[in-house]
Amino acid sequence: MPVLLKLRRIAPYAIILALSGYLYDLALHFDYQKVPGRIGPDAWPRIILVLLMAICAYQVLRLALQRKTGEVEGVLQSLEEEAAPSLVHPETEHPWLAWAGIALTFGYLLAFERVGFFSASFVYLFLLMLVGGYRRVLTALGIALAASLAFMFVFMKIVYVSLPLGRGPFLDVSIGVMKVLGIH
């Protein structure tokens, strides 16, 4: 196995191992009133972290030593893979689309309170539809508008959730929309 590929396979387990070590150290320093003869609030997290570190260390060593022992599969996975491998592992992968969706979602959350629910959701839905491969721009704009209005109506008028209205000009837009929808 090429070294780079090996490192790529080991990396997730090594990262989890390192993080677990750090968290274990944190657990050793939890601040609490000790009761003699009783286990403390650090006991349970430490048990989990020791098990997590042990299993990650095992996997790192196994991959590093390139033992051809194979993976022990869960029962369901092997059933599904035997049944329909193409459904379990799709042929095409476009990770950049997922990352674009994640970036858009982070942007939406950053704008959520400043821009207000209606305006932020309208732009977010439109862009997410484009990322999702929907290419009818005018229809996408119409759906984004209708969905933002519908969400605002359902959650503010029926479920009584006070969604963010935004600041400055966005506040005026949100209040205008609320008037149109009959939300007081």
Binding site: P12, L23, L26, F30, Y32, Q33, G37, R38, I39, G40, P41, W44, P45, I48, L49, L51, L52, I55, E71, V72, E73, G74, V75, L76, Q77, L79, E80, A83, A84, L87, P90, T92, E93, H94, P95, L97, A98, A100, G101, I102, T105, L109, E113, F117, Y124, L125, L128, M129, V131, G132, G133, A140, A144, A147, F155, V159, Y160, V161, L163, P164
Partner: protein, 515 residues
């Protein structure tokens, strides 16, 4: 007599306008989400959760269980008609269901699926009603070691069942258990892994973990796959349901009985959701069925077995939830969240108070009515339901993400909750890419507090003697079962390895030798 009396009261509650409306709405939503690949019944239940915040408890749980039960049925429409399984549990329906449709009998195949869902659903609901009170009595005698052992059993079965690798499944479980420890510890009041952030002081609500991992994570994952359907809905397909005759039904009575019992029993096991029961029921039919050699060519048994199994698992799953307060699947975890949001802790105490007993029996009665209702709707509205497939995937995904975000925000009007679900959404996507199964992590986050509390109580009561888990009768049995559940995939792996390593028999080798 008491049980039937309460069931009758439950039935009378179901037919009040409010409960009936949410039941019908739940059935429709469940059918719609199970038809769409990439949505599924767990996401349907997750998306419906925010609507229950302002509802009384009874209609809230009815709505969610209706989505759950009908979510196990409607996926058969698209699997049989278009070879598009809505969920992994519908995959076994492709072999005989789609084959029967290809032979010019799509309506008959749909009829078999309907009868199977009806039989499995009604049988397991009846078993659930019969078992609920005895199980709750047993649960009342549970001490902390028994509770810990029950949760431990649930977690180990989830690990044994899920994932491409047992190691990854364990890592996923431990991460989930660790997430559950974040926040202020309930016994000592110690701050654990809060990093001085006020958001983390109250811990990570497991509903947010669920919404993030199952909702957003799934959408991000499908975005990376280009949001394509594995198949094409055709407009020329005859969308109609034809019932099998009584004589035909009598011929497959053994399949119906076998799969109903198997589905219900497997449903009780935590982690063995509708997908496992569907595959196992089909597998058992393939091993023990009278016409096992012909399975896969369009036989009714191949449709009936998986469909009965998946629908029967729903009521099976409700048994540990209602009697022990232990959810065994993603959908029942959301139902537990709905209970807790209304200040009700499911468990044996639900069966002692007459007020809560009426609520429980209304929920049980709603399963009977729900199963019948979904079959009626499936019969009359199948044409409308399969049209959901025509909604562009890009549009649907965008709406689902917004539902998740607004749903998370609506819980406490807090943007920090939305950040939590997005973080877990990204984690869910990363888990999927690295082939770490999601269900152990989610169940770890849900059952973690229960496991820790019962562990701590046991350690305090028994002076830190952990052997008590193995010494007590019930907890000892459950711990041994857990070890067996963990050992099964290992044993299976090593037996398979030995079988592969074994040199071929001389006669077989000679036969394959070209010389």
């Amino acid at each position: 007599m008491g049980t039937l009396h309460y069931l009758w009261i439950g039935l009378s509650h179901i037919f009040t306008p409010q409960d009936l409306i949410v039941l019908v709405a739940g059935l429709l939503v469940g059918m719609a989400v199970s038809v769409m690949p990439g949505l599924g019944l767990v996401m349907g239940v997750v998306l419906a959760l925010p609507f229950t915040y302002r509802m009384p408890i009874e209609p809230s749980i009815i709505l969610l269980t209706a989505i759950y039960v009908s979510g196990t049925y409607a996926g058969c429409f698209t699997a049989i008609l278009y070879r598009i399984p809505g969920e992994p549990m519908d995959v076994p329906l492709l072999w005989d269901g789609y084959s029967m449709a290809q032979k010019g009998q799509p309506a008959k195949a749909l009829g078999w699926a309907l009868v199977a869902a009806l039989t499995g659903g009604l049988f397991s609901s009846a078993v659930m009603v019969a078992l609920a009170v005895p199980m709750s009595r047993v649960a009342l005698s549970f001490g902390p070691p028994d509770y810990f052992a029950a949760v431990f059993f649930g977690l180990t079965t989830v690990v044994a069942l899920a994932g491409t690798s047992l190691v990854n499944a364990f890592i996923s479980l431990f991460v989930g258990l660790l997430v559950a420890t974040v926040g202020v510890d309930p016994i000592y009041g110690a701050y654990r892994f809060t990093f001085d952030s006020p958001i983390l002081e109250n811990g990570v609500p497991y509903v947010m973990v669920l919404v993030g991992m199952y909702g957003l994570g799934e959408v991000f994952n499908r975005l990376s796959q280009g949001l394509k359907l594995h198949g094409e809905p055709r407009s020329d397909t005859r969308v109609k349901t034809d019932f099998p005759s009584w004589r035909e039904l009598w011929l497959i009575r053994k399949t119906l009985a076998r799969s109903s019992v198997l589905g219900t029993l497997l449903g009780i096991v935590p982690g063995a959701g509708a997908t496992v029961t569907s595959f196992v029921s089909y597998g058992i039919e393939k091993q023990y069925g009278e016409r096992r050699q012909l399975l896969g060519t369009g036989l009714p048994e191949g449709i009936v077995a998986p469909q009965v199994g998946s629908t029967a698992s729903v009521a099976g799953h409700m048994i540990p939830l209602l009697t022990l307060g232990i959810p065994g699947s993603g959908a029942t975890a959301v139902i537990l969240a709905a209970f807790l949001l209304h200040g009700v802790q499911p468990g044996p105490m639900l069966f002692t108070d007459p007020g809560s007993k009426a609520v429980v029996y209304t929920i049980l009665a709603s399963l009977f009515v729900g199963v019948i209702g979904m079959c009626v709707m499936g019969f009359f509205w199948i044409r409308v339901i399969v049209k959901v497939l025509r909604i562009p995937q890009g549009v649907l995904s965008a709406i689902v993400v917004l539902f998740c975000i607004v749903g998370a925000y609506a819980n406490r009007n807090s943007v920090s909750d939305v950040w939590v679900i997005v973080v877990f959404g990204v984690l869910g996507y990363a888990f999927d890419k690295l082939r770490f199964p999601i269900s152990p992590m989610v169940l770890g986050a849900i059952l973690g507090p229960l496991a820790e509390n019962s562990y701590m109580q046991t350690m305090i009561s028994y002076h830190n003697d952990w052997t008590v888990f193995f010494r007590e009768g019930l907890s000892g049995t459950l711990m041994v079962l857990s070890l067996l559940a963990m050992g099964y995939p290992l044993a299976r792996h090593y037996l398979e390895k030995r079988r592969r390593a074994r040199p071929p028999a001389p006669r077989a080798a000679a036969r394959t030798d070209p010389a």
